[in-house]
Every structure is written in C-alpha cells, then in structure tokens.
C-alpha cells in the first residue's frame, strides 16, 4: 500500500529547474513512440534539432510559429491568474483577424504609421469584446465561462466562414472562401529580409514584458492576483471584484485578438477559415507550462513551437507521422503537472497487513 503525504516547500531554484526538466523528460519519452514507429531514434532527434535551429531559416520559422502562441499564451495566463477560465482564445483570435481585414483591406487608406496601429487596435478591441461577453454572463448570472467561451469558438468560426463566403469574400479569389488581401500599408513588415519572421514577434515580446510589469508592479495587477487567489477575501477587503474580472476579460481577449492580427497582417496577408491550427487551445498549454508567468510564456511558446516545427521536419524526412508533435506536447504538459505534484507531495510506502483482524 502506498500513501501520499505533503512535503516541505521546495526552493525557488528547484521551481525554475522543474519545468525545464519536465520538458526534457517529455522529449526523452518521445523516443518510445519513435521506436515503435521503427525510426532510428538518434537520427530522429538530430533531424528535429536541425529542423528547429539548423539554419537561420529554420530558426526564424520556429520563432514565427511561436509568435501567435506567445499572444494566446499571455491571454490564457492573465485570465487564469484571475481564475477566469478563458478557453475562447481561438475564437477571439479569429475576431481579431476579422477586425484586421475589415479595417485593413481598403476601408481606410492611410500610411503604415497610422494603419498598422489601427489594425492592431481594432483586432485587440474585437478580441476584448469577444471575452467581455462571457465574463459578464459569469459575473451577472454565474454562467460557467468554460462552457460559454468554448462554445463561442465554434460560433465565431462559423461566423467567419459566413463572412468569407459573403461580405468579406475576395471577388478576385477565384471562388475560394478567403478575404481580400490586406493593404501593404497595414502589413507588419518582415524582421529579416527573405525570412517570414515579422514584427509581430517583437511586439509579442513587448507585450510579455508589459504584462509582466502590469502583474507585478501595478495596482491593477495586484487586484487581478488578489481576486484570482482569494475572491472572498478580495470582496471582503473592498476590491471591485466584478470590475476586475471584466477588465481581465478585456485584457485577455485583446491579447488573443492581437494573435489574429499578427497572423493575418504579419504572415498570411489575408484571412481564411484555417488561419489558426488551434493556436488558441495551444495557448492554454503554453500558459500552464509557463506556470502562468508572463515571461515564462515566451519560453514555453518557443518550446512548443520548436516541438511542432522539429517534429514536422523530422517526420517529413523519416516518414513518421507528424502527430508525434501533439504527443510530445501532451507529454510535456503531463510531465510538468507531475513535476508540480511531486514538488508538493511525496509517496510513502506502508507495509501491507490484513486489515480484517481484531
């Protein structure tokens, strides 16, 4: 028989090393399915590494992939800090993208200095609105935001499809359901010549730093943490709990909306219904891996992006299924959660006896 007992708090260093160890453990565990697939394990790891950082192109591709994950990871991290379970970053991302093409495909003609901030703002606003609704329903009627935000994702995606077949459809698009291309002046320019990495990446880094400062240095961030950690005590202390939750909702939605703008105006140039391969949901994993720390989100997003990009290029060369990436991401999350568990508890063995005596 075994039983679980609490253990004394671990040191700060251990808490920093733990997620890294968990990530490495997850990568190591990936060897098991690789073996089953009959792939040469060491070659596979080599190819993964080459795909992630083997060349400038490979490395910038990884960062390009990490960019939307940083935004959605931040969106999840700030909301979760306030115990507001925003599962709707995927939908808010599409709302941001929709606002971006609505403003950016010719409605307004202005120089880049005006138009770029404008589409960013519009996208953030659209995402914010998309999250304030569910948050209001929660504070007013107690509607579970996990359900409402999750279901809204599908509603929003279908709405986007409808717009792409109708009002926003590109007349020059040969019948494809896609929007008109975003004006050049509204595009986030590439960061390096002939690479796809764009200004959305530094913007994401700036947002991560801003969110970090917000949470640690401002009264607003203080309130968010207090409401999230103990809403009853926050209410007792006179904090405006409802207002704090609505403001967190707006912030979280805005960050997810920026992910949509960054993908459209930084990478694709137009909107299609397959803009995001689940960046909104992956953002939740990123936030959890980062322990909800805004700066940790950057590291976690790059890690998840690397797993996807690396597994992708490895699977192409070896003919192994690229679902391997999903497996590694899932393993990482499990390893981090287990690591967190063993940081707080330990398992003790108890000699087994026949309990029926006496």
């Amino acid at each position: 028989m075994i039983r679980i007992e609490p253990r004394p708090p671990v040191s700060g260093t251990v808490r920093l090393v733990l997620p890294l160890a968990a990530a490495l453990a997850a990568l190591a565990l990936t060897a098991v399915p690789l073996l089953f697939a009959g792939a040469p394990v060491f070659t596979a790891y080599g190819l993964m590494l080459k795909g992630v950082a083997g060349s400038l192109f490979a490395f910038t591709e990884t960062l390009t992939r990490a960019t939307p994950l940083i935004f959605t990871g931040l969106a999840a991290a700030v909301a979760f800090r306030a115990r507001l379970w925003n599962i709707g970053a995927e939908g808010q991302l599409y709302l941001g993208a929709l606002a971006c093409v609505w403003i950016g495909t010719g409605m307004i003609d202005a120089p880049a200095l005006v138009l770029v901030p404008l589409v960013l703002l519009a996208g953030a606003l659209a995402g914010a609105v998309g999250m304030i609704g569910p948050a209001w329903l929660r504070t007013r009627f107690g509607a579970d935001e996990v359900v409402t935000t999750l279901l809204l994702n599908f509603i929003i995606l279908i709405f986007v499809q409808m717009m792409l077949e109708g009002a926003l459809k590109d007349p020059m698009g040969l019948g494809w359901p896609q929007s008109e291309p975003v004006l050049d002046a509204a595009m986030l320019p590439p960061l390096i010549d002939r690479m796809r990495l764009h200004w959305g990446f530094p913007l994401a880094l700036v947002m991560a730093v801003l969110v970090h400062l917000l949470m640690s240095r401002t009264v607003w961030g203080f309130r968010i943490r207090a409401v999230g950690e103990n809403a009853a005590a926050a209410r007792h202390a006179g904090l405006p709990v409802t207002r704090v939750l609505l403001s967190v909702a707006a912030l979280s939605g805005a960050l997810a909306g920026l992910a949509g703008v960054s993908e459209v105006a930084g990478l694709k140039g137009y909107l299609t219904a397959d803009l995001s391969p689940g960046f909104g949901y992956a953002g939740i994993v990123v936030a959890m891996l980062a322990g909800l720390s805004p700066l940790g989100v950057v590291v976690a997003a790059v890690y998840i992006a690397a797993v996807f990009v690396g597994a992708d290029s490895m699977s192409r060369e070896l003919g192994v299924s690229s679902y391997l990436a999903d497996l590694t991401v899932a393993l990482s999350l499990i390893c981090v959660l287990l690591g967190g568990f063993f940081a707080r508890y330990r398992i003790v063995r108890v000699p087994t006896v026949d309990a029926g005596q006496g």
């Binding site: 007992e5 904090l239 309990a355």
Partner: protein, 503 residues
C-alpha cells in the same frame, strides 16, 4: 488507574521541518476520561490522526487491548483502528443530512442493502445503546432537522454502535451551549462508568477541570505534563500549556464617548436562521466594547456581513460615526471608518499566496503611500510592512513570505496590524481569538482594549463566554436573529439566554 486499554509509546511524526510529534507516550485506562490539552499546533490532532491510522508515524508503537491483553495495532490503517474498537468524533460533523438519524448511525455497519436495518435487530441494538448511554435522539428524523447538539449525539452513537471501547472526541463542545456541553459530559461520564475509555481534545480549561480524570498536556509536539485532574488547577495547567504564566488581559472601564455605530431596525430575510436578522438595533460608543454572545448560527454571520458591507440589509439603517455611509459596500464602510476582523481569516481575511506586505495594503490600495498613478510604491510598501511586523510582532519568514506560511496567531496579528493602522472608528471583531493559543488570544484581547482606549468602539462577536465576560462592557445575546441585552455579565444567566430559555 485500572489496567490500560491503550498505550502509545514513542510516537513521532515529522512534516518537513516541523516536528509535529516527538516521542509521545500516553496510556489510557479502562473507564477513564483523559483530556488532551495543548495550544494550537501543539500536535494534538496529529497524535489522534496517528492513533486512528490516518497518518503513519515515523517511529513508535500503538498497543490496544483486544480482550486478551495488549496487542500491537498495525500502523497507518484506519480499518484496523476501527476494528480494534477505536472510534473518533470529529469537530466537523460527517453526517449525511438527507438521511435519518438511524440511517446515519448504521451507515457503514453491515450490508448496505440490508432491508432489515430499519426495523429489526439493528434498530433494537441502537435503541439499547441509546438507553445505556442516555444519548437520546429521534431516530426517524432527518439529520438536517436536528440541532447541533443532537447531531453530535448522532455522531457519538455512530461510534458506539460499532462496539467502540475507546472514544476520541475532537473539541466536542466548540458548537454547544454551556448547558448542552454539561449534559454531553454527564452522558460521557455515564458511559465511562460502564467501561468506555474516552480521550477528548479541548481548549477550555473549565470543562477539562470539571469533567476529566486525568489531563495530558502537549507543547511543541511533546508531552510536557500529565496530572490527575484532582490535583490540577487552572494556573498550573495554563503554565504547562504555554510554558509560562498565562497572560491576563487587564480591563479598566473607560468613559464611553459619542456613538460610533448605530444600527436601527436592521432586518435581513433569509431561508436559514444563520443568515436572518429580525429588527436588530444596537449602539456602540467610542471607548466601549460591546459583546455579542450566542450559539453559532443564530444570525451572528448576518450581523457581521451587514456591518462589513458585504450584505445590504432589507430594512433598517446603519450609521458609522453619526453618518450614513455613501453606499453599502465593503469599500464604503472601510472608508467610513469600520475596521473588520473576519470570522474565517483564511477565507475572508487574507490572500494566502500573497506576501505579508501585500496583504497589509489589501484594504487601502488607493492610498497615496501605496500607489502613484496606478503603480505600486514598493519601497514605501515594504517599509510600512517592516514597521508593522515590528510593531505587531508578526513572526514568520518575513514580510516578503506568503501569508499562508504564518501560524494562525501571526496571521491574526497581520490582520490586526492592517485594521489598527487604519485608525478605525469602529472595530468589528468576529471570533477574533478562534483557533488561537492562549498567548496569541491574550495579545488580541490586549490590542482590542488598547484600541478602545485610543477612542475606537469595539463590537466583539464571540462564542467564548469567558472571553466576552472578561473583555466586554456590555453583552447582548443573539438568538434566532434577535438581540437581547443581558442584564448582568453572569455566566449561567447568559447561558440560559443563549439557549433561548429566557428573553
């Protein structure tokens, strides 16, 4: 002492850096009532949890008499403890509210599907136990309709029908009126005469002295003393518990000043009695401590919620310092000068994962010394925290450590620091010493009296009658959402009023 039925020897348990129990020996005779005393965190509950198999001791043995002499009890197995005849009644009841008293008593005994349970032998057995013990309960009534005292009887009967020979009670009188407590102990005494051995955990020196045969005192996880009750007195036990003379709060009457809190005709509608207030009127003056006595769940929570601003009354008026607060919210009442010490400090008082410094500013984030243009002024906040830690002697890992690492007493000191540093006109102290050890409780009382001397009015809500009598200028008794002023500060009289006997 007769032949022992239970022997604990050398029990030790460590949780990380905390030595919860160290080398504790304890023995219990047949038919003996043993009181286990100690401050909070002294290791009483850990010891009982090891006896009951919830925790696995690091070292030591437990031996129980199985009829043919003492045998080793397998450690870490609750089922083994149960079948060895050890029963435990927890402080917080573990009853199924929607089942009858009988069903609750028989729950877990015999087959779940047995149809004969209600009628046949089982019922006769329970009735027999009731008759022998004197613990009477209406067996067919749903537990949700029973009073707290009756529920406790159900809990004890639940243990007794399993042929329990050793009964452990964890703070059994915490929720009872003095009269109910007396009758409980009378029943326990009867059971002990019939051969049941009892261990009860308590904080209340009075009942320990009145109802036990022997007293064992724990301090810092070690047994520091064991005396026959006949040879004990309050001073001697208190000295064993805290390791020094128990501090007494000096209370000289002061001249009351202007009213700081006036409630008139406050009414709160609610389905359950604990949230109901009927026409409550009350005035607290400056330099006055007004005590609210009552059995828990008679509307004290509603009264505290109204004065804290958490709940707007359905009718009636509340004035703080002579003025109506702008709105009925916690923030408005804090601004009007109400300092609040909440009943459940973990739930309402602190944000456990935030630091001491952060919790100290929780109620005054708008202050110019706390923030400038929305940014926290860390240096000022830290300096204020260091000063508060010094002034209020908040012991722990330091102002930057999460509050949850503080002990109960130090957490309460942190809350006192937050309240008193805001110089409130009225202090609402709801069960301010609950769960605190003698030293910390005396400190809270001293601080309340001192604040009173500085011109604040104090409304003290407590279930501890001795504390109310020691601290209050006037005492009002709360029964079923109504307040009645007690004519005298007399234990027996107030006890009867609490039970609703006199009005």
């Amino acid at each position: 002492m007769s032949a022992p039925v239970l022997e604990l020897s050398g029990l030790s348990k460590r949780f990380g850096a905390v030595q919860a129990n160290a080398d504790v020996d304890l023995s219990l005779g047949r038919g003996e009532v043993l009181a286990l005393l100690g401050e909070n965190g002294a290791g009483k509950t850990t010891l009982m949890n090891m006896l009951f198999g919830h925790y696995l001791p690091d070292a030591g043995h437990i031996r129980v008499d199985d009829g043919q002499g003492l045998r080793d009890l397998p450690l870490g197995h609750p089922q083994a403890a149960l079948s060895a005849g050890i029963g435990m009644v927890h402080q917080h009841f573990t009853l199924a509210e929607n089942l009858s008293a009988l069903d609750n008593i028989l729950l877990g005994v015999g087959s779940l599907l047995s149809r004969r349970k209600r009628g046949g032998a089982a019922r006769a057995h329970v009735e027999d136990v009731m008759a022998r013990s004197g613990l009477q309960v209406a067996l067919d009534t749903r537990v949700s309709r029973l009073t707290v005292g009756e529920r406790q009887r159900v809990e004890i009967l639940k243990a007794l029908v399993r042929n329990t020979r050793i009964l452990v009670l964890d703070e059994p009188t915490a929720v009872l009126t003095p009269q109910e407590a007396d009758s409980l102990f009378a029943n326990l005494h009867q059971l002990a005469v019939d051969g049941l051995s009892v261990i009860f955990i308590s904080h209340k020196l009075r009942e320990v002295l009145a109802f036990s045969d022997r007293i064992a005192v724990l301090r810092h996880g070690r047994k520091v003393g064991e005396i026959a009750t006949a040879e004990a007195d309050e001073r001697r036990i208190a000295r064993l518990m805290v390791g020094a003379e128990a501090p007494q709060v000096e209370r000289a009457p002061m001249d009351p000043g202007a009213p700081v809190l006036e409630l008139s005709g406050i009414r709160c509608e609610a389905a359950s009695a604990r949230d109901r207030l009927s026409d409550v009127s009350l005035t607290v003056h400056a330099r006055e401590i007004v005590g609210i006595a009552g059995v828990s769940g008679n509307g004290q929570a509603a009264l505290a919620a109204v004065i804290s601003g958490l709940r707007a009354p359905d009718a009636g008026e509340i004035r703080v310092g002579g003025a109506l607060p702008a709105r009925h919210t916690p923030a408005a009442l804090i601004r009007a000068g109400v300092g609040r010490i909440p009943e459940d400090r973990h739930h309402d008082g602190v944000v456990g994962s935030m630091s001491v410094a952060e919790n100290l500013i929780l109620e005054r984030l708008d202050g110019p010394d706390v923030q400038r243009r929305g940014f926290l002024r860390r240096r000022q906040i830290d300096a204020a925290a260091i000063a508060a830690v010094e002034e209020f002697d908040i012991r722990g890992p330091g102002p930057d450590a999460p509050v949850r690492l503080l002990s109960g007493g130090n957490m309460q000191k942190m809350i006192l620091a937050r309240v008193f540093r805001a110089a409130p006109k009225l202090i609402l102290a709801n069960q301010p010493t609950r769960g605190l050890d003698l030293g910390a409780a005396a400190e809270v009382g001293r601080r309340l009296v001192a604040a009173c001397g500085d011109g604040a009015g104090v409304l003290l809500i407590s279930e501890d009658l001795d504390e109310l009598i020691a601290l209050s200028d006037r005492i009002l008794v709360m029964v079923d959402g109504r307040l009645t002023e007690a004519p005298r500060r007399d234990r027996t009289e107030i006890g009867l009023m609490m039970a609703g006997a006199a009005a």
